[in-house]
Every structure is written in C-alpha cells, then in structure tokens.
C-alpha cells in the first residue's frame, strides 16, 4: 500500500520518448494496418534494424529493440478488439512441462516468482487413468463468475471474449478469487521488486506493472495481440502445445502450425475443463492421446522448488511406494 501505481502516461516524461514515429512492422498481419509506436533510445540496442515510417512521412531505420508500442488507456481496454472472439486450444498430448510458457509469461508481465498467471498441473483423473501435464491459463469464461461478483467493476468481460482486471480500480476484496472455480487469480500480498522493472505506463491490457493489494491473472496478452503478436505462452512453447486464435475466423495457430478451430476440436475430441460448472470457458483442451513424450519427461531439468510441487500428487506417491 506504500506506492500508488504511477500509471499515468503524463508522468513518464523522465524517459526519453521520441514520439515521432509510426511503425509499420511485425504487427501488420493481424491488425491489418499501421501500428502506432514510439522510440525509446535509452534501451540497449539489439543490432537488428527495421525501417519505419515517421509521422512526417519519412522512412527511417531504427534499432528493433528501441521500438515501443504504447499501451491502450484503462478506458479503451474495456472495449475489446472489434470483430474478434479469442479462443485458446491446449494440446495435452504435447506438453512435457517445459515451463517456458510460465517463465516467459512471468517475464513479459514483470511478475515475481510467487505469482504465476500460467500454472502447470500434474493431473490424474482417477487411480487407473494416465497422468498428464495440464497447463492452465485463465479460461476467459463466457459466463464469468469472477466478473459477476466484483463489487466495483474492476474485472470485466470484453466484446472480444477477454476477461481483464483493472488494478487501478480493484479494491482487493478477493471475492473474485473465491468466485473462480479454477484457482486462476492471484493476489499481490505485498509490493514486489519485479513490478518496478516495468517502465511503461499501466494498462489493464498488459496487467503490468502490478499493484500491491490487488488481484491479477492471465490476460490473453491483448497488448501483444494488438500489434500482431501471439501471447507469451503461445510464442514461447517449444512443443507448440498452445494454439491461439479467433473463433469467428475459425482459426487457431501456435506460431508454426495453423488449424481450422472447429475441425481441430472435432478431429481431436477437444473439450473444456469442468464443463459441468457452466462457466463456458474460452480455452479448449485436446486430450492426452498418442503422446509425444512419456509423462516422466516432465520432471527433467526442473528446479527443486518446482519438483517439490508434485510430491503429493497421487502419481508420485504411488511411484514412491513402489
């Protein structure tokens, strides 16, 4: 509670902004046009140069690492990207608990180790069924109880299906945490140093920087989607486990493979977790059949801390007994 989040764009004058350029870059494909951006010459150079169009109509070459995309305002973040209905498909047959999704997500959202927007569970439905790795983001439900119970409208459902949290509005009552049946939401129990790493102004679309005493969660990275990128977890997964796309266009991609969503779900018997609860998630799972890896591969190279998490799962306790 010590720090008011310094979220207002006006306050960021201490940084050297060259607010002169309009960048036509990587973002073109998804958004179908020019993407506004600005330069931050203070950042370390990557050496990779890209050509950009300035507002004066000139084409200049700048370092790729200097390009910054401005985050949308709190107000605009309530609207959603027009004409979109986002959907995620997670292929359980491919997951081997590499945890790249978790780590990249934490890095991208400037999260401390204590907070994970993406969690990887080791599930086993019954004693005689096979265990499998189960990555779990926010399900961005179409009937979100977390949104219904919020007393101040700090969490909201957008036209593009994304459920976001405005941590500038959140009073931290945690009712949404108990409302969510999927243990998705996390609370900032104190101020973490990682929050200070983010120098950009706050936007609910980026869920960063975090604010002590408020709730946050996986946001489907709308800030990345706006500039034509895939969410951190999708882009970082070495196995291509996670597909992301648009329900209206009926297409999902993991960055390298692209499928027709409806066909993928039909062919691979896609399902939603705990359908019985009636929350209508936007995240689908493909069952762990014909797996590419044995489940034990998921323990390779894990941190001791992470390995300890699975100690009390039925699968591990049974193995130990043997």
């Amino acid at each position: 509670m010590k720090r008011e989040s310094d979220n207002h764009p006006k306050k960021s004058s201490r940084r050297d902004f060259l607010k002169k350029s309009l960048v036509a870059g990587a973002g073109v494909v998804a958004t179908g046009g020019l993407v506004e951006a600005y330069l931050d010459t203070q950042a370390a150079e990557s050496g990779e140069k890209v050509k950009v169009l300035t507002t004066d109509g000139e084409i200049v070459e700048v370092d790729k690492a200097h390009i910054r995309y401005p985050r949308v305002s709190r107000k605009k973040s309530r609207e959603g990207i027009p004409g979109k209905k986002f959907v995620m498909v997670i292929d359980l047959a491919r997951c081997k608990n590499a945890r790249a999704c978790v780590e990249k997500c934490q890095e991208g959202h400037h999260l401390p180790k204590d907070q994970e927007f993406m969690k990887v569970y080791l599930l086993q439905d019954t004693e005689y069924t096979a265990p499998y790795w189960f990555p779990k983001p926010c399900y961005h439900c179409d009937n979100p109880l977390c949104v219904s119970v919020c007393p101040v409208g700090a969490t909201y459902k957008r036209s593009d299906g994304i459920v976001l949290i405005d941590t500038d509005r959140c009073i931290g009552c945690k009712f949404c945490i108990t409302g969510c049946p999927y243990s998705t939401r996390v609370f900032a129990w104190r101020h973490y140093e990682e929050y200070d790493e983010d120098t950009q102004p706050y936007s609910p679309e980026a869920s960063s920087p975090g604010v002590e005493g408020t709730v946050s969660k996986c946001d489907f990275c709308p800030d990345l989607i706006r500039v034509g990128k895939l969410p951190y977890c999708v882009a970082s997964c070495p196995m291509g486990v996670i597909y992301f796309g648009d329900l209206d266009e009926d297409v999902v991609t993991n960055g390298t493979e692209t499928y027709q969503f409806s066909q993928l779900i039909r062919d691979r018997a896609g399902y939603r977790y705990l359908e019985v609860l009636g929350t209508r998630p936007s995240v689908y799972y493909l069952p762990p059949v014909e797996r590419q890896f044995p489940v034990d591969r998921g323990f390779d190279g894990l941190d001791e801390e992470v390995e300890k998490r699975y100690e009390n799962t039925p699968y591990i306790t049974k193995q130990k007994r043997k």
Binding site: M1, K2, K119, Y121, L122, L123, K136, L145, S148, V149, C150, P151, V152, G153, A154, R169, C170, I171, G172, C173, K174, F175, I177, T178, G179, P181, Y182, S183, R185, V186, F187, A188, W189, R190, H191, E212, G213, T214, V215, L274, L277, T279, E305, V306, K308, R309, Y310, E311, N312, T313
Partner: protein, 440 residues
C-alpha cells in the same frame, strides 16, 4: 408509584454511573492495551502488506472473515431476542433486554471492521459507492449492513430514551455538569406524558419488527456471499437459513455469558434469576436442535451423494480437522441440549459453561466453513510453499481478533456505566395484567 420504583432502582445503579473504581479502571486499561496491540498489528499489516497474515492465494479469507461472520451473528442476540420478546410482551425479558441490545449494537459495529481487514486497498474503499455494482453480493452486503446498523441504532436509542430521561430527572445522583448536560440533550425532552409514552411505544414496536426483518436479510446476504460461488462446501441452498439459525444460536450463548458476568459484577442476583438463565437456555436448546439439524442435513447430503470435491472436503474435515469438527458440530450441539434438557442439570453455572462452549463451537463452525473449502479447490493445490497449501493464522490476525473481543468488552463496560444495564423504566412499569386489575 412507578416513579418511586424507578428511583429505587436508579439509586441502586447510581454507583456504577457515578464513578469508576480501581478494579474497573485496571480492567479498562487492560482492554485499551489489547486494543492498542491490535492497532499496532494493523499498522504492520498496512505498511508491510497482507503478506504478514496467513492468507495466501488459495485461502484468501482467513480468521478475519470468521470473525466477521461471528460478530455479525452475535449481533443477532439483541435483534431477535429483544425484538421478539418485546413484540410478544414476554414479561421476564425486562431485566435482560438492555444487555441484548448492547450486545447487538456493539457486535454490529465490530463485525464489519473485520471485512475491512481483508481488503487489500483500504484507500479505495469509496469505490464501493462510486463504482458500486448491484449485481455483486458484496454490494448487497454493504446496503444490508448499513441499513442494519442504522436500524439497530434507532432501536437501541428508543430503548434507552426513557432511562436517559430518568437519569436526567434523578436529582440525588452525583454527576459532573457535562454529563448531566449530555443526558439532558440525549433525552430529547422526553418527560413521560401519556402522548409521548404512546408514541414511543408505537415507534419501539415498529422498530422491533423491522430490526428482526433486517437482521434476517443481513444474515442471509452474508451467507449468500459464500453460497453464490461454485466452491464445494459453499455452493449450498441451505446456507441462508443455516446462517440465520447459527447467528441467533451464538447470540443466545453470548447473552447468557454477559448475563452471568453482569450478575456477578454488579450484584444483580435479585433481578437476574435462575429463571432467566433457564428461559434463554431453553431458547438456546431449541436453536441447538435447529442448528444441529441444518448442519446434519448439509453434511449428510454432501457425504451421501459424494461428488468428488464434496468427498475431498469431507475427508479433509474428518482428517485434518477431526477434533475441531467434533467440538463444533457434536459437542456444541449436544451439550446445551443435555444441560438444559435435563432439569437437574439446569443450574446457572452449568448453563453458562455450555453457553461458553456454544460460542467457541460456533466460532470453529465458521472456521470450518471458510477455511477447509478454500483448501480443497476443484484443481488440486500443487505448491511447494506450505503457506499456500494450508492456512495458518499469524499473530497479526490473532492480535486483531483479540482487539475485537477487547473492544466488545470495553464497550459493554462503558455502556453499562452510562446507562443502567437493566432497563429501569420498563422494570418500573407494571405488568399489563396488574395494570388491568387496578383499573378494574
């Protein structure tokens, strides 16, 4: 004649109102010290963040919420007991309703403070009004509780008005000037004319009925905060009435203990007799039976149907929480039924001891509703951090809990030094039957 009796009664209570003796001063100092410790804990919680509590991402609500439900429940003592007894004109109520009303209003002021302790951003509390959404049960709660506090304050004020006027008119009492002036302002010019009497009586009747209704609503809304969610163990249709019954039950328990304490300390043996303990005890017995019935129905259906997550919850209750479960849901139900049910056992001390057990049992009952459910979510908790798996409250939370109890005791003490703890004016009123006889 009524006035004479009023004076005699007031004479008896005058010493408490006039001065504070040494032991009382120590007692008050002790309570203030406990409250100060609570404020210190609060200071730490605010400066260092909620990390100093035992709450974490799975168990996001801990003993603060338990205390919230508990104090709100206790506040029921006055609302229902005093309101109902007033409406039914139960004569024996007269010496104890003042205590019940004090309990109500004090507990009602403490309860909501605990929900504030759970809120991460107290600096944004105004958002509840500025951006309030009527869809949220928390908004229902804000509306219900504020209405309840307002209604109960009016009810209590109407109930003490006649005594305030009596003290104002009571010449032999030695009071400092400011105090006398205070009484005279608070008496609102009440002088006991027949017209005033009728008006006051009517207003009290209306408020008694309203307070009962509001209290039922408040407690149901409180239960719905839990039962509207999908959490196993919370998502139950029985919760509304269950919480209402549990609330009156705990209120009865606290009332008995308060009766016992004031009886001992202020030597009220003449007014508060075994009859009062037995009568409130019988009320407690009925509520124990109802409470036991609700508890049994709730857990029986969960256990018999044994949906996977209900089963996990029941296993947790009968494993980690076995003794607490037995104490709260068996001992807490059966003990008052045995003690009050068997006439031989119905002594003042026995009833009081069982009331203490009831209070404890109900606090634990709420703990067992809140915490184990959060410890057994749909997705199993897979974590290496012990605090994230099982909730364990810290000294900060206990210090603030103690502060709440201390504030309750302090407010009862000070309240009883301001207004006689027995309703002097009502005691002086003749019972309706005798009044009729005189008229005949």
């Amino acid at each position: 004649m009524a006035n004479e009796q009023e004076s005699t009664l007031l004479q008896e209570f005058a010493p408490q109102i006039e001065r504070t003796n040494f032991i009382q001063a120590i007692w008050i100092f002790f309570l203030v010290a406990v409250i100060a410790l609570g404020f210190y804990a609060l200071y730490i919680q605010i400066t260092e963040g909620h990390e100093v509590t035992g709450m974490r991402d799975n168990v996001v609500w801990g003993i603060y919420i338990v205390n919230f439900i508990f104090f709100m429940g206790v506040s029921y003592a006055g609302a229902l007991i005093s309101g109902t007894l007033h409406l039914f004109r139960a004569e024996w109520r007269k010496p104890i309703i003042r205590m019940a009303e004090f309990i109500t209003i004090i507990a009602l002021l403490i309860g909501p403070c605990y929900i504030l302790l759970c809120i991460g951003r107290l600096d944004r509390l105004q958002y509840l009004v500025l951006y309030g959404r009527i869809q949220s049960p928390i908004t229902w709660d804000v509306i219900a509780i504020s209405t309840d506090i307002f209604g109960c304050l009016i009810f209590l004020y109407l109930a003490i008005l006649r005594d305030i006027a009596a003290i104002r008119d009571f010449q032999t009492i030695r009071l400092p000037k400011w105090k006398r002036k205070l009484y005279s302002i608070l008496a609102l010019g009440y002088s006991g004319t027949p017209e005033q009497k009728v008006r006051l009586h009517r207003a009290t009747d209306i408020m008694a009925a309203m307070v009962i209704a509001i209290a039922v609503i408040v407690y149901s809304v409180l239960a719905w905060i839990f039962s509207v969610t999908l959490q196993p163990g919370w998502h139950s249709t029985i919760f509304g009435p269950y919480f209402v019954i549990a609330a009156v039950f705990s209120g009865c328990g606290v009332l008995i203990v308060v009766m016992w304490l004031f009886r001992k300390i202020y030597h009220l043996e003449k007014y508060i007799t075994r009859k009062h303990f037995v009568n409130v005890g019988i009320l407690m017995l009925i509520l124990a039976a109802l409470f036991g019935y609700f508890t049994f129905s709730d857990y029986l259906t969960k256990w018999y149907g044994s949906e996977r997550n209900d089963e996990l919850l029941i296993n947790l209750l009968f494993d980690e929480y076995y003794w607490l479960f037995i104490l709260s849901n068996y001992v807490g139900v059966l003990l008052p039924m045995i003690v009050v049910g068997i006439p031989k056992l119905r002594t003042i001390n026995n009833i009081t001891i069982s009331a203490i057990i009831v209070i404890l049992a109900l606090w634990i009952n709420r703990y067992l509703i809140v915490v184990p459910t959060l410890e057994s979510p749909y997705l199993p908790i897979q974590d290496s951090r012990p605090a994230w798996i099982f909730y364990s409250s810290t000294w900060i939370e206990w210090a603030l809990t103690a502060a709440g109890v201390a504030f309750f005791a302090l407010a009862m003490t000070i309240g009883s030094k301001f207004i006689p703890i027995i309703n002097v004016s009502e005691m002086a009123d003749l019972p309706p039957s005798e009044e009729e006889e005189i008229l005949a």
